[in-house]
Assembly symmetry: C2
Homo-oligomer: 317 residues x 2
């Protein structure tokens, strides 16, 4: 059920993409998602080319199914990561934070699908014009880095769908079958899910991080660092300090000084979920249990079918 | 199609509520929406009891169908508005900004349904425990006053649905059939729509206001006044001054001074859409035309049916 044109485009069974999250999305998660019928993504964002190559080879040992790489284009290693992706022959590259134009031809020549992540319809249309095969439209409820316009998924998806002729993948606020079906109703041809995949057995992130996501509740994430860029994370001690600084009008430099280096690693690797940055989507309040990536995908697909049949009854009433 | 239990509860044909918007939702809009099969609401928020009574009587001359009143409970005239609503025998009262507990028994004794507007699941559960008949769960993409937690509709609705046993009405980010169907997929039994009804012939608001909403685009609304409370409005000259003040850490008093009195009237009645507050939802980018309330409702219902049939084909593929 719900086999959309995105499935055909990417050669996958279910239109579910696992977000490429720095410090989380390594070969264990990526291969598990792809093997379960979705599209797993490795997070290229904090890897060297060689590290990415090693991860790709690990994925290939675990699944013959398609998988991809997420590459934020503003990072200095972006060129390297693109080269390795082509050399190793991955199925899809998801680009963000920069223009994909430079890479679309090379990707297509190499038989790789290129998908660009956009926080608004204007950038999505620009990416489509640059030749990408699909766009991810990501709402501000998503964890991690977001667009400065802070458009929500509900408002964003139909506006992007109206602007581009390629498949739109909805991201932000989706963790179960209800979000999945809502995304399709809004006109998306699939979903990209991040936070729900952090709380899987296969996510290679510190157990404290997973527990923090499970415990966060409906109101526990905040936007911090608006002076630098929009980031959604858990409201912990570090976030409170940042919010307090912003409230009294602290500038870019002071905010940078408060953050300092390595906050993401501190949470993700060391497990310090009070003094590290815990990237987390607002939908975390809906997540209560660590499961396998396969269970997550199966529950979404089976749940969406049941939900659809329920709506059908309402419709026929 | 899509006749839900909310329709039974409120005695309406389609599960579409028109938001009770101050300076916008008077008898013309309210009666048109109810006559077209939805539930029209009068905005009690800036009226005296006598003014409300006059509006109610105008509605009754125009439709025999159910309609309701929106009453923000923090306003000094709330008691008066409740009294008039009971005396005049309206069908439903929508409360917000305060606890509905004080009024539930009186409403039920008078045969009036009471629905409470909540920005998070905790307050929704509290309202349900207080005996309301349904809740509106309103995401931060909505125009006007929002909850301080800034939860988006996509993240909010399923979390509220999981917490209460009464019908949930989704609000925020809904302007067409896609948003309507997405809301039902998320578990809502109906929708409350504000911004799309501002841009109707029947909305009694200055033409400049309607034009500003039509022109706003996807990135033209902002949250201002976080020091006082969360308000979504159009990014005009007034909003820019507020944002600038917030950025440099201005406190509550300075922000209040910048706002000064009568900003809402200045936009809604005088039509000054640069120096007045233009309440507007983020979904305005999707709205390109002024229509009648009836057209809006019919397009949503017919569109949702077509959309559903389309998804059915995907499902059967």
């Amino acid at each position: 059920m719900f086999r959309t044109e995105l499935c055909d485009l990417l050669g996958i069974e279910y239109p579910i993409i696992q977000g490429g999250m720095a410090w989380v999305s390594y070969y264990e998660l990526c291969s598990a998602v792809s093997e379960a019928g979705g599209l797993g993504l490795l997070a290229g964002s904090r890897m060297t080319g060689d590290e990415l190559r090693a991860e790709i080879r690990q994925v290939k040992e675990r699944t013959k199914k398609p998988f991809g790489i997420n590459i934020p284009l503003l990072r200095p290693e972006a060129d390297d990561l693109v080269r390795v992706s082509i050399e190793e022959g991955v199925h899809a590259v998801f680009t963000s934070a920069g223009s994909p134009k430079k890479y679309t031809q090379r990707m297509h020549d190499a038989g790789i699908k290129i998908v660009h992540v956009s926080p608004n319809a204007t950038l999505a249309a620009k990416a489509a014009a640059a030749g990408v095969d699909a766009v991810v439209a990501e709402g501000v409820e998503a964890g991690g880095h977001n667009g400065t316009d802070e458009i929500t998924t509900m408002a964003l998806i139909p506006q992007v769908v109206d602007r581009v002729d390629i498949p739109v993948i909805a991201a932000g606020g989706i963790a179960d079958s209800r979000g999945f079906l809502a995304a399709l109703a809004l006109g998306a041809k699939g979903v990209q899910i991040g936070t729900r995949f952090i709380t899987t057995h296969e996510a290679r992130v510190h157990p404290n991080f997973k527990k923090a996501v499970l415990d966060v509740g409906e109101t526990g994430t905040v936007i911090t660092g608006r002076a630098l860029g929009v980031v959604r994370c858990i409201r912990n001690r570090l976030a409170e300090r940042l919010l307090e600084a912003e409230k009294r009008g602290a500038g870019r430099e002071e905010v940078l000084e408060i953050i300092g280096p390595g906050r993401s690693e501190r949470a993700s690797i060391e497990g310090d979920v009070e003094e590290g940055t815990v990237y987390c989507g607002q939908i975390a309040g809906l997540i209560h249990e660590i499961k396998s990536a396969k269970e997550v995908i199966q529950e979404i697909m089976e749940g969406a079918e049941a939900l659809f049949r329920g709506l059908e009854k309402t419709a026929a009433r």
